[in-house]
């Protein structure tokens, strides 16, 4: 468990995105991608970011993760500015990004590679327990090529969890899975992340699947087409577990769709 957990009061901000803009340069002409985006993700919240395809929502996620530097503005996690990838931020990718030449356990261990404070035995124990909470005990020595899509993503989740992150970034994590698998993994991942069992304080999910957002998110940030700016911020106060067939659910879905179009 991380040292900061518990100290934070529920609802206090963990991630603050403060007036972030990003320009790409194409033949020296600036091409605006993000324009003045601000948002927060608070303790025990799952914040969903959505927008038309290609609007830059995954780019925003990479800025939050410290992989891309914004042209202006700042991202803060727990009051310190994010300038590079950090130990307390982890990420789950759309296409799993597992190393095919390493077993499930070795893939999770790769996430712990930079931890100088742990012995090899401690790393192994951590990786094994991460696999176990991701529902993969017994699959430690299996290679990604022999795993189904859903199981590959479980390895991805285990790898991200093993580092004890405070902030979990999910980049379309369910969109390359088939419907049934995605449905199950969605539920499990939510329960897992928003539970005291893990160190995660807040989750930011990028998704273009509106129903997925209404099912999971406490708050939805809707971005416009390029250059992306925030066109809506919705607090989704549906009680959990959410019934996907209820009228309220559909009203929320419609609300997001109307902001998107």
């Amino acid at each position: 468990m991380s040292q900061v957990s518990g100290k934070l009061a529920a609802g206090s901000p963990v991630v603050t995105v403060d007036h972030v803009s990003l320009d790409y340069y194409k033949e020296k002409e600036p091409l605006p991608v993000l324009s003045d985006v601000s948002m927060t993700a608070c303790k025990d919240e799952l914040v969903a970011v959505t927008g038309p395809s290609g609007c830059g929502k995954s780019t925003l996620l990479r800025i939050i993760g410290g992989l891309i530097k914004p042209t202006s503005g700042e991202v803060k996690v727990l009051d310190s500015a994010v300038t590079a990838p950090r130990d307390d931020i982890s990420m789950v990718f759309q296409n799993f990004v597992l190393l095919p030449w390493r077993s499930a356990l070795e893939n999770v261990l790769f996430g712990l590679d930079s931890r100088k404070d742990l012995s090899d035995a401690q790393k192994k124990a951590k990786a094994e327990s991460a696999l176990e909470i991701a529902g993969l005990s017994g699959f430690e020595s299996v290679y990604p090529g022999e795993l189904s899509g859903g199981m590959k993503q479980r390895v991805g989740v285990a790898r991200a969890l093993a580092t004890d992150p405070e902030v979990m970034l999910l980049d379309e994590p369910f969109s390359s899975l088939d419907d049934l698998t995605a449905e199950r993994l969605r539920k499990e991942t939510y329960t897992l992340l928003i539970s005291p069992q893990t160190s995660v304080q807040t989750v930011i999910l990028v998704s273009h699947n509106v129903e997925e957002i209404i099912e999971l998110a406490d708050k939805a940030i809707v971005l416009s087409a390029r250059p992306a700016h925030v066109v809506g911020e919705l607090r989704i106060d549906l009680p959990r577990p959410r019934n996907k067939k209820s009228d309220e659910f559909f009203q929320w879905v419609d609300k997001v769709y109307s902001l998107l179009s």
Binding site: N95, P100, D113, S114, R159
Partner: protein, 529 residues
Amino acid sequence: MALQFGLIALDIAASWVRMILALGLSIVFALAVGIWAARNKRAESVLLPLLDIFQSIPILGFFPFVIFAIYGPPNSLLHNFIGANLAVIVLIFTSMSWNIAFGVYESVKAIPQDYADLMGVSHASGWQRLRTLYIPASMSRIAYNTQISWAVGLFFLVASEIISSGSANIPIPYGIGVAVTQYTPSTDPGDYALLIASIIVTVVVWRFLFLREFALWSEKYKMMEEPREVHRDPVMRFYSWVNQRSVSKLFLLAHGRGVTRFTSSIARFRKGLRYAVLIFLAFFLILIAATLAYSGTLRISSIPSAATLGAGEVSAIIALAVSFVRVWYVVAICIAIGLPMGIVISLNFRLYDTASPILEVISSIPAPILLPAIVLIPVIGRNPEVVAGIVIFLSVFWYIVFNVMAGVRTLPADMKDLPHVYKVGRASAWRNVYIPSSFTALVTGAITAVGGAWNALIIAEYFQPDPKAAPVTQVSVGIGKMITQATNAGNNLTIFLAVSSMTVLIVTFNLTVWRRLYHRVTQRYAYNR
């Protein structure tokens, strides 16, 4: 100076005429064979493995046979200027045509069934189908593959011109390979530098004025689903060429899985392989028969005894073993340099954009034209082993570095982010991510590089510009040297023993070692399965 310049222009013009004729011949051949193989299942099962064997053997070793078969003995019909040129053109053709033929085959194979139905419904004749469907559908691949075939053909042009005017002493009055044997950089460095500069300028200008325009023009024939951008990136062009060669190799290598598009063809390919090997052997026997017949007409007494045969074979095997080591140590050096270099270049977009056109120009210079200058480098130029190593290196390094560059470039962006997300050290990122993810590209590059190295040996091991003078450089033992010396002496038996031993070794090696290695690597290291 003006006179020299005029002569050099004449040399380049002569070479380019040979190249263009060989290219024309290659395209006609490729269309005939490619369409036939794509439309006829029985032809497909034999032609594909046959093409594959031909593209994997060191064709330059066969040049003496080509000379015997076309140029012939003094009293034959083509024992003149025409025959000599024809021999060179045929050799260039053999280096260019296979990959264009595979391109045509794949294009015609990829035509959707609807189009074939349309032709059926409109009662199109064979000629109409050819003109309105098969040829246009193949056009973009022909143009695309021509860009690389040209670079490969240049190597064979220079090599065959050097052998013709040097060792074999047949009348090839002009050509850049001939010029290389005439201008010695030690006595007239200015002329030699002018020659090299002119060749480089011509290669580059030709690339942009003809090859590129041809490729752009052919884009209008592209079927919808093919990517459009590829032509502009030399690295990706090389990559797709090398991998296309290994698509055909995959037939040999695949154990029933792998390339899904061709899965049904793999079984047929295996069945046809036996016939292809038989046809290849028959072709080989005809070559021997023809060669022995010529020897017979020339020197009756030269029919070999078992003892000379045995002795010849023993020396061929020794030479082969030495050359084998030479090929592999140079390819090992290419990998040691090309793997890290390719990874570093591809991980940095700006460096990639600057480096790839520069590397493309250097790679398109046929290495043998630099040999006379390499010999002059102090200290190392006097060591024939080092000179041979450098010439082989310059001939095949590109297959490795371009393939690694393209392999890393085609990695998903997330994969490149992964080491950053988890903040792993540089050493760990290389060991766990970059190097393993380049392995498949590296192995396909290495297969092609080793094939190229066997060809390069023929020039690199023994260089004798003037048949009456001592060779400029020669290694002590080697199969390339053995073949070139035997060509020089008109010793057909030795040529035959050397070339057949080399061919057997390479085909066996492809079917056993490469096949296993490729299988293992694609099993474990292929990304995104």
